[in-house]
Subunit: 298 residues, 2 copies
């Protein structure tokens, strides 16, 4: 059993002098099939691969309504200038808008939907709160890649998330093909924690949201993980979703295809794993990136 003292200790040290591979110390699935919408087979697959694809999470009508609402946000000039909005370095298009569950009533409602939060509660075996939410727009023709990283490494180092007890859901607002920058996961990589080399610069998030450099594994580590696990590319139609563990090694290629790729991305963290002081940064990132309000989703 994990005690309060364990949550204060830094069991996943990172951003030090040398890269290191450490074993995962936490379960991946924290409850069972009786506790929510995911069946025993789904839980087993999530446990093994670190992710679970859901073919049809929301209807075509919901996709349309969400897309209209979120595209509307992009054309709001005040929001474009807001720090919650990330602009693509070259194309000047909106790449992401954070705290989208605060900005959009439709997204807030979606998150409270049992199909979404129910799965998160089930996987994490407790009440959950939203650690981060955002909408990502990867434009056609010029979408930039997202380099390989484990989200948990950043959340631990920069947001103070103690343990691996968080799960992300990426809900597709557009069709995902292998050629339009779909999510790539190294299945099984969630069992290994790559402790990254290099200290965290002040206000690292300002550049890392555009292009992450600190907190990414070396080429050698990635080649090693690839040799063990390979790469799965998550394809499927709009309305589907992928849930993935906080420590999955994942990334996505650029996109020169004419098809944009948009998704809503929500991170649920267990209320028993609430963030503390960062483990490898001077101060926590702003709350629109890593929430400091741990009120459970109801």
């Amino acid at each position: 059993m994990t005690t309060a003292a364990d949550y204060r200790a830094d069991v996943y040290p990172t951003r030090s002098d040398a890269e290191e591979w450490l074993p995962r110390l936490d379960p991946v699935v924290w409850s069972d099939a009786s506790a929510g919408p995911i069946d025993a087979d789904g839980l087993k697959r999530f446990d093994a691969a670190g992710y679970l694809a859901i073919d049809e999470l929301i209807t075509a009508e919901q996709v349309r309504a969400l897309r209209d609402e979120l595209v509307g946000l992009c054309s709001d000039e005040r929001l474009r200038a807001d720090e919650r909005t990330v602009i693509e370095p070259t194309s000047e298009q909106v790449r992401s808008i954070f705290e989208v569950h605060v900005l959009s009533p439709l997204v807030a409602e979606l998150i409270r939907d049992e199909r979404v939060v129910g799965r998160a509660r089930q996987l994490l075996g407790s009440d959950v709160y939203v650690h981060q939410s955002r909408v990502n727009f990867k434009p056609g023709f010029a979408g930039k890649e997202f380099y390989w990283h484990s989200d948990f490494e950043t959340w631990h180092a920069e947001d103070g998330m103690p343990r691996m007890r968080a799960v992300s859901i990426s809900i597709s607002l557009t069709d995902n093909y292998t050629y339009n920058g779909a999510l790539m996961i190294m299945p099984g990589s969630h069992q290994t924690y790559v402790s990254c080399a290099g200290a965290t610069p002040e206000d690292n998030y300002k550049t890392s949201l555009r292009q992450q450099e600190i907190g990414t594994p070396s080429h050698e580590a990635l080649a090693g993980l690839y040799a063990q696990h390979g790469i799965d590319t998550l394809v499927g139609p709009a309305g589907g979703a992928t849930m993935f563990d906080s420590n999955c090694m994942h990334g996505s290629n650029g996109n020169i295809s004419p098809l944009a790729r948009s998704n809503i991305f929500v991170v649920f963290n267990s209320v028993d794993n609430a963030c503390q002081q960062p483990y490898a940064a001077r101060q926590p990132r702003p709350s629109f990136i890593g929430a400091r309000d741990f009120t459970p989703v109801r």
Copy 2:
């Protein structure tokens, strides 16, 4: 029948004020199944899609020997400084070496191999010469994309290639997956000639080999071609090859996977379609990019 006068006329104008879609005026397959190694079904598929995948063109042993020879060329400091070598803008790694059939006896031998030149002669219905050859190295982790283009548009505008009677072969020296920047082709796009807007700058090739900007279709044109044709991603093991028509709309995404992607790329042109003065540039590109010696491969 095509007369000499037709070869002087500019039936595929480009680099003007406005983009335009023009029909292809030339056959795709210039002979039949009795004329070479490709069977009737293969020719039919090439005619329809504009490309043909060959699963096993050369042996694993040949792949190894070629790879050793070509990687050797990369570490030749004199050749690195040679204008035939293209260096990646960011990573400083060798991206391409041109005229590789002149630099490498093994590649020269490969090109003369009936499995290679025989197929080209069959598709083009005549003797053929090498218009261009190169080896491409797309490094892992940081491989840059190749934006959409029709090779013929450039060869016509900048090298003076009169008609669509050339074929490329890309021979894989590494495995191609959907996630390591494999070749993408819009199947059937070879039937449409996208006449591109914009004049050719002086010495355009010096920048276009790194990043092509002139001679690429607009977003609207690419979205239109995609709606008609979709995208095929050419995957398969090392030793395989893809032959594709000079007017296929093609490109490739960047590559953050740990797997490098290398291939030998050879363009065969019909001796009856030898290059003339460029149709939309002041002078032809250097001969290491577009040959001015039309001696048939024997």
